[in-house]
Each structure stands twice: as C-alpha cells, then as structure tokens.
C-alpha cells in the first residue's frame, strides 16, 4: 500500500477501515545474508538502504523489544549539520541532505521540519569559535549564518538578553536544521524495508554470537539460533553489553540522558534554540509542548530513567535563558541510554571477527545521523569498504591518535 493524499481523504470518508498493517510480523528464517541487530532508527535505516540502494534482500532486523522503543523514540528530535571537524562535517551534511529527501524516498510522512536551529553566543571567544565553525560548515557545502543581537531579537524577543553571567551577544544559525517526528522515522524505515522483503523480527533478543575460528556465523536469540553471512550491530546504548558477548571491549561507556516535555502551549518558539553555555536546548513540538534537554547525568548507567539533580540543572538553564519557561508546567520526563564514545564521535567499522560489523558510539547526537548512518553502514556491510563520508569512523583511531574530538574533552565520555 502506498500512501497518498487521495487515499487519506477516501479513508477519512469511509471510517478508516481500509488501512492495513504497515509491515509484516514474520518468524525468523534459519539463515539470512545479513542480520542487523537493533530495530532502532539506525538498524531500520540500514535495512532500508541495504535493500533499496545496495540490492540486498535476504536481510533481517532483530529487535529485543518493539521497534522504536529505544533512543529513536526517546530523543529531542533535533537535526542539524553544524559540526566542524573534517571527519564529521561531510557525514552530517550528507545526513541532512538525506533528511531533505526522506519522505519522498520512503513514501512516509516523518514530519521533517526545517524550522532552523540557532546556537546562542555569549562571549567574544565563543563568537570567534562559532564563526570558525560556520566557515567550516560552508566549506563543506552546508549553510550557516551569523546573527547579531538585533536579528535574534526579531525572531526570539522573549530571550533573556541581559543575563548577568551569559548576556546574548549573537548567534550561529543553520536554517536547514530543525526537527523530525522521531517515531515516524522508525516506522517509515520499517515499512520501506519490509516492502522490499526485509524481515523485521520484534521481541527477539540477541543473547550471543556463534563465532568459530574467528568468523561469525550468526546469532543466538531468544527465538533460537539464526544464521547469517554477516552480522551488523546497531544497538545504541547497549553496544558495550552486546559486543562483550563477542569478547570485545569498546572505547565506549553507557550513560543516561534525559528529555523533558511541557504542557501544550500556543506556538511560541519558531525554531530550535541551544544555550551551550548553560547546556540547555529547546524546541516546540507540533502538538505545542516545549521539548527540551541538557547534560547527561554523568555516570555510567543502564537505567532508562534520570535523576533529580540533572532535572534541576536543566530547568535552571531553561530559566536563565528563557524566563517565561517558568510559567509552563512540566508534563513528562524520561531517560535514554547513550553509548558515549571516548572522543564523542561514532564508530562504523568492521571488527576483528570476520563477518561481524559495528555501528555505535553515537553519544547524544545520533538521531540526526540516522539516514546517513543507515546508508554508510549498508555500504560497509554490502561492499566491505567504508562509504566515502565515513572513512574516519574507524576503531583504530584511538590507537593511531586520529580522534575526532569536536568538544576537545579528551577520553572522558561523560564530558562529551
């Protein structure tokens, strides 16, 4: 079934009785060419691009819970390509371009909304750093725009411009950045992959790998052994746990990040604002809730919930920059587990075990990467060579000293 405006109108007039499930619910086959572990955004996107771009159809996605129940459904939905370093910027710009064509590509309304993102500037040094970043972005074909205080006042008159500690001195805007309906990304990719023959197997947990003589032959699961020529792991915050089953230690720690949503309000926020100095970022969902977040909790965690000190810290950041937020009630908060890597950048690579591939270390910025992550991981799985925009995301960069450390924090995952 393809979606179209006509179909929506017809269903609206006939009581919505003609909709069918968007993907099948198959039992696992004994053997696949490629198995993807993890039915999050990245795993499902990988399956879609494997089938639609790289001609692979004997593919399965194995998910321990339900698709979209992990970070893809827990994040604050911001997409952007305002990175600076060589290994990163071309990759995130490739991702933003894929977002721009996503809905036509998968025939699914993911509510891609390029409402713009603006990073606030509070000091002369920060202005220099952001202008340098803007130049790096433009050199890589992305858009960037410096805003002076008057321009910001026109768009966001309610911000606290004269805060004693962090007065607003300007901003770096990326107009093509914005937000995307996160659940719809998982559902849209799932439907597109399924329609090309990919099996999406939910409620099936991978509990081990069958590795003989340095080669991976498949995975042990709660539904029994499933064989595969190649296995790709894309399990976000569970990377460490999963890869330890293959005997690997990773340059990764798992940490919890919280997200918050206020009660529904009239439209007040046209785009996304980030207040880096106090670590707070906010946008408004199409239902009216202010969606915001801040720092990670800061210590290893596999609990999908946060702790109160960070709630307080995030809300203080919000009050400092946007005092009117204090009038809104907080409706909901939750946590997601992120695989914080040692330099804050992802890893997409083969492992030393033949037939076993890894995609992870997304920290708290992996949602925007979903289309590109899927595309380049599919490339790696199908062709065994890295995609041209992902050549820097190798395991060995920690050995050779070629870290991609956007924040300059060194090997301390809780600071990235």
């Amino acid at each position: 079934m393809r979606y179209s405006g006509l179909k929506v109108i017809k269903e609206a007039l006939t009581g919505h009785k003609g909709w069918t499930p968007a993907w099948r619910d198959p039992e696992p086959q004994p053997h696949y060419d490629i198995i993807i572990i993890g039915g999050g955004g990245h795993g499902l996107a990988t399956a879609h691009y494997l089938a639609s771009v790289y001609g692979q159809h004997k593919v399965a996605v194995i998910e321990k819970g339900w698709i979209g129940g992990g970070n893809v459904g827990r994040n604050t939905t911001i997409i952007r390509s305002n990175y600076m370093l060589d290994g990163n910027e071309p990759f995130y710009e490739f991702s933003l371009k894929l977002w721009e064509g996503l809905e036509q590509n998968i025939n699914y309304n993911a509510m891609v909304s390029q409402r713009g993102i603006m990073n606030l500037i509070h000091s002369d040094a920060q202005r220099d750093a952001f202008i340098r970043r803007g130049n790096a972005m433009m050199l890589n074909g992305a858009d960037a725009e410096y805003l002076d205080v008057a321009a910001i006042k026109r768009e966001y008159p309610f911000l606290n411009f004269d805060d004693a500690r962090f007065p607003i001195k300007g901003g770096l805007a990326q107009r093509r950045g914005g937000t995307v309906r996160h659940d719809a990304v998982a559902w849209g990719y799932a439907r597109a992959a399924d329609s090309k023959g990919v099996d999406i197997i939910q409620n099936c947990e991978v509990t081990g790998f069958r590795i003989e003589n340095g080669k991976c032959h498949g995975v042990e699961t709660s539904k029994g052994f499933i064989g595969a020529n190649k296995v790709g792991c894309a399990v976000a915050g569970n990377s460490g746990r999963l890869m330890s089953m293959a005997g690997m230690r990773l340059p990764i720690e798992s940490h919890v990040l919280q997200a918050f949503v206020s009660e529904g309000l009239k439209p007040v926020l046209p785009g996304v604002i980030t207040f880096g100095a106090g670590h707070f970022y906010v946008s408004q969902s199409d239902k009216g809730g202010l969606v915001f977040g801040g720092d990670i909790d800061g210590y290893n965690s596999y609990a999908q919930r946060g702790n109160l000190p960070v709630v307080e810290d995030v809300c203080e950041g919000g009050m400092a920059i946007m005092p009117m937020i204090g009038r809104a009630r907080l409706l909901r908060m939750w946590g997601g587990i992120m695989d914080m890597s040692m330099d804050g950048s992802p890893i997409i690579d083969r492992t030393d075990i033949e037939g076993l591939y890894f995609n992870g270390g997304w920290c708290y910025g992996g949602f925007k990467a979903t289309p590109a992550s899927g595309h380049v991981f599919a490339h790696l799985l199908a062709r065994d060579t890295p995609h041209e925009t992902a050549t820097a995301y190798r395991f060995d960069r920690f050995k050779t000293g070629h870290m991609i450390d956007e924040k300059g924090m060194g090997n301390q995952p809780n600071l990235h």
């Binding site: 460490g240 746990r241 330890s244 230690r249 990773l250 340059p251 990764i252 720690e253 798992s254 800061g298 210590y299 290893n300 965690s301 596999y302 609990a303 702790n307 000190p309 040692m342 920690f398 050995k399 090997n411 301390q412 995952p413 809780n414």
Partner: protein, 94 residues
C-alpha cells in the same frame, strides 16, 4: 543518589564529580608499558550492566577520592571505600 562517605557519612552525589571506571587506578608502568597497554588503559572499558567499581571525587566536600561500587541498572550503591586504601591494597601507593 546518596553516597555513604566512609569518613563523612551519607552525602548527596551532587557534591561529587565522576571520573570513570576504578580500573584507572591501575595505570600502566611507563617504564615497561607498550602502546597497546596505553590504548587499553586510556580507551577500552568493560562498561558492565550491573556492578561497577568507579571513581568519584568529593569536589564539594573534603576533596577525597572514593571507589564506589554501584549497580548501573538500579543505581544501588553497595560499597564505598577511600580510593587511597584501595590503591594501597593493590600495591599502588605507600
């Protein structure tokens, strides 16, 4: 989270700064360590889902270093030791 400091009693974890896995106490010997040893020490982690021994610094208090054993699934803390005592037991400090 409440950290039961061996000298000061129960303190709010917000007074502390987190460094990471307590294995960091066991730094390789610069005289004999290979690049591989430094790579493992600097970058690779067990990252367990369950009991985890980790380093916390009492920045907002007596500025001591502690080794806290905490369950990363439940945040339950089962033991708190002074890091210096742990290091001594490992022969790392006099």
């Amino acid at each position: 989270m409440i950290i039961n400091h061996p000298l000061l009693g129960p303190r709010d974890s917000a007074e502390f700064v987190y460094l990471g896995d307590a294995e960091l106490i066991d730094r390789p010997d610069p005289e004999t360590a290979s690049p591989e040893d430094w790579y493992e020490y600097g970058y690779l982690r067990d990252n367990p889902a369950g009991l985890h021994r980790e380093l916390w610094w009492h920045e907002g208090g007596d500025r001591s270093w502690l080794v806290v054993t905490r369950n990363t699934m439940t945040h339950e803390i089962t033991s708190v030791e002074i890091a210096r005592d742990v290091a001594r037991k490992m022969g790392r400090s006099s």
